[in-house]
């Protein structure tokens, strides 16, 4: 059973991503959306959260939420894949189930 998780909270404000990763099975995917996109940036105090789980979990980030926050020029963590809304739909279609962490 492959799961897609969406995380929409900043890792600097909420433990949502941390909890999501603690409960995620290997082979699942996490799509960072809304304020969740801050977790995808390289070189922050919270980058290690994504980096430490990249073997087990595949990370995606929604590009329009990156653009909306003026982060387009900021480097993402290596291996985090940027997707557009169409890519979001593809991810939903590809996985058995979606769990939106709030």
């Amino acid at each position: 059973m492959s799961m897609l998780y969406t995380v929409n909270k900043s890792p600097f404000e909420r433990p949502t991503l941390e909890t999501c990763l603690r409960l995620a099975k290997p082979g699942s995917a996490v799509l960072l959306i809304e304020d969740g996109v801050y977790a995808a940036l390289a070189g922050t105090a919270k980058s290690a959260l994504v980096e430490a789980n990249q073997g087990d979990v595949t990370f995606y980030v929604l590009d329009s939420d990156i653009d909306a926050r003026g982060l387009a020029e900021k480097p993402l963590i290596d291996g985090v894949e940027s997707v557009d809304y169409g890519g979001f739909v593809d991810l939903v279609e590809k996985h058995d189930s979606v769990h939106a962490w709030l």
């Binding site: 059973m1 799961m3 433990p15 949502t16 909890t19 603690r22 409960l23 995620a24 099975k25 189930s97 769990h99 939106a100 962490w101 709030l102």
Partner: protein, 119 residues
Amino acid sequence: MSEVEFDTEGVKKKFMFVNTKAPYGTIYALEVLEMIMISAAFEQHAVIAFVDDGVFQIKKGQNTKATGMKNFSPTYGVVEKESIEARGLAADDFVVDVEVLSSAELADLMAEQDVVLSG
């Protein structure tokens, strides 16, 4: 106005509701409770889980009289061991029967569900 019909006859799914927020500061906890009631109305199978600050929703001895808010402490469910330990709580701090599961056990239970909703 055309009438909307929900044909749920014979459809029974396994739902898990994951509470992650403390009870009174935001509307999340109450909204999850609403979802649970709706799932009950449609006779669905539901597991209610408490993680992170969600564990404070089932703390014993809540008294909301002075704040004028409705005390809506749920009285059943599973809690994550790591979340309660991080907050200095133990199984006997909760309103009633809760099952304490490790992160790994909760992850297994979560993987068995048809639908997982959090708030």
